[in-house]
Subunit: 345 residues, 2 copies
């Protein structure tokens, strides 16, 4: 992953030197104290502007210890954030946990990756104690930005790299996918297709790997990549029906995509589950139970994962225990999944 | 409106006095500078903790001028925020405008009014340059909290009080309601009912006033209060049908409530629009066009209102113009509405 280049921060000493005043005077101006003569105030302000000086809020947080505020950054444009119910559920869990610990949830929205430098500046500005980042795509800059900002971070979903300082919370995507495919085979289905999520996301890769664990020799035409939207699921289903007209089952990597796939199957007159059995992933409230027919799907507790992310981050922010107790060692968390059987398979 | 009680903030001078050190030493510790002896650092930190000293970030922002960050606070619990599409649309407009000006959107979520003191602390902490607050209810503490925090604020929706320093953006709720009711009367309807929004919100009051402007002598049984949810709309419709079985039209104060009302009418076998004509309010994307039948409704441009709120706030944050130009005077904005005719009336 490439690392964005932050220049070293100008110091208060540099501001004082530039303004030709003492460090104490510069400090008084920066702190907004009274009693500094107007021309000196003006010189310090100009030096601040010219050098791009940002007060060392992080250092000051060392004194007050905490802002009691946690940033949530979703690596998706705001439009997708509000249309995919996954995010609302994850944020709900985060909100519950942070509120229970009297921490403010600070959601930093973006229109796209072009806005990441601004998010990095906000994280570096000392406005939050930590960050929760989720829905990462390959080569995503956000984790590096958070690291440069010196902000402790927990990632939602297994990151695309591995080291021992990156904390994350994920569900057992691969195991859940295996359960889904085995269930379809157990129903006697012979031509099981897979609509994958976007393969620049580890959740999609892990679910595809689970599919391949059970069906290592699957015809490659049985696998189509989608994009976690209903429209993407519909397009993928259409493509599958053209490529493999006699398919009799589909494991879809998200309920939202499965809703689009079901629509296509209905339109072309394939009965679900008689002609084509469908299994989703997520067990998303407001989706899986409301499709026609209701979805058999792999349940993951999305709200609970949000709660776990927030809890893990708050633990890493705790000061080391006094006295004899061992400090709490944080570790990444992988939650189990389970198959929920409804009418679609 | 009652004002929450903030104690006056402890000053750096008070910290220095408590710690028994000079102001300069206290300042160096608070700023995280090197070169202060450890016992003194410890004494200052203890004084900071004991007094609850918060560094005067707002004053420091006077020097750096801007955080380039704007808070958005919705006076609703996070659960409602994510289920009512109104909020996503308003935030979308805000996000577009802030991004265009390279300002970070900082969404402060809450679980309820119990969290307002924490929101007030965050606003007072100097982390944002201004605040956009919307969906206020009567007696809501948020505007007073923002004022105490010294954060310039624009309110979405006419506030429940009037003074000349409160800026807001709203649509012409009363005029839009009049248009809706006149349209129903023009269709020859005689018994026009109204499902109002929650009457602790000015949008609901203004729409009810518009209804009464046209029908000043309406039977009070024709007016039922809802809560801007589909379930509330359904309950209100059921109540109206019991009270006034021969009603032939309903003006509903939101599309979301109208979707619930339509469901009830279908269930009891009243045809829309033949037996009962229905007009909504909002012209909410993803609601009005998708109901069965599609809704005739009063259009307001929700995303544009978000954009206008953000633009108005950014203008108030601009430094006064240099030289001869007059400073830009900000003023509240009321946008027009228009009736959109679809199948329901």
């Amino acid at each position: 992953m490439s690392e964005p280049g932050f220049a070293p921060r100008p110091t208060l000493e540099a501001v004082a030197a530039r303004a030709g005043v003492s460090r104490a005077t510069a400090s008084r101006v920066v702190n907004g104290s009274e009693g500094v003569r107007a021309p000196l105030v003006e010189r310090v302000r100009r030096a601040v502007d010219e050098l791009g000086y940002v007060p060392n809020q992080a250092a000051r947080t060392l004194v007050t210890r905490r802002n009691d505020a946690i940033a949530v950054v979703v690596a998706e444009p705001e439009t997708r954030f509000f249309t995919d119910p996954f995010f609302a559920q994850q944020v709900r869990g985060i909100s519950r946990e942070l509120t229970a610990h009297d921490n403010q949830l600070v959601l930093l929205l973006t229109e796209g990756t072009a806005d990441y430098q601004r998010v990095g500046r906000y994280l570096a500005g000392g406005h939050v104690d930590g960050a929760l980042i989720f829905s990462l795509h390959a080569e995503d800059e956000l984790p590096a930005l958070a690291r440069r900002a010196g902000v402790p971070t927990v990632i939602g979903g297994r990151p695309g790299w591995s080291d021992d300082r990156t904390l994350y919370v994920d569900c057992d995507n691969r195991g859940g996918a295996r359960d889904a495919v085995r269930y379809l085979l157990g129903l006697g289905r012979r031509q099981v297709a897979h609509i994958a999520g976007p393969l620049d996301q580890t959740a999609s890769v892990d679910r595809l790997d689970g599919f391949r664990d059970v069906l290592p020799d699957a015809d490659p035409r049985l696998i189509v990549e989608g994009d976690f939207t209903p429209e993407g699921g519909a397009r993928a289903m259409t493509a599958l029906l053209e490529r493999v007209p006699d398919l009799d089952a589909v494991f879809v990597a998200s309920d939202v995509m499965a809703s689009g796939a079901l629509r296509v199957l209905r339109t072309v007159g394939r009965r679900v589950p008689e002609d084509v059995a469908v299994v989703g992933f997520d067990d998303m409230v407001s989706v899986a139970e409301w499709t026609d027919p209701p979805l058999t799907t792999v349940h993951q507790d999305i709200e609970e994962m949000g709660r776990l992310m927030a809890g893990l981050l708050l633990r890493t922010l705790e000061p080391p225990a006094q006295g004899g107790a061992e400090p709490v060692r944080a570790a990444s968390i992988v939650t189990p999944t389970r198959l929920v059987v409804r009418a679609s398979a």
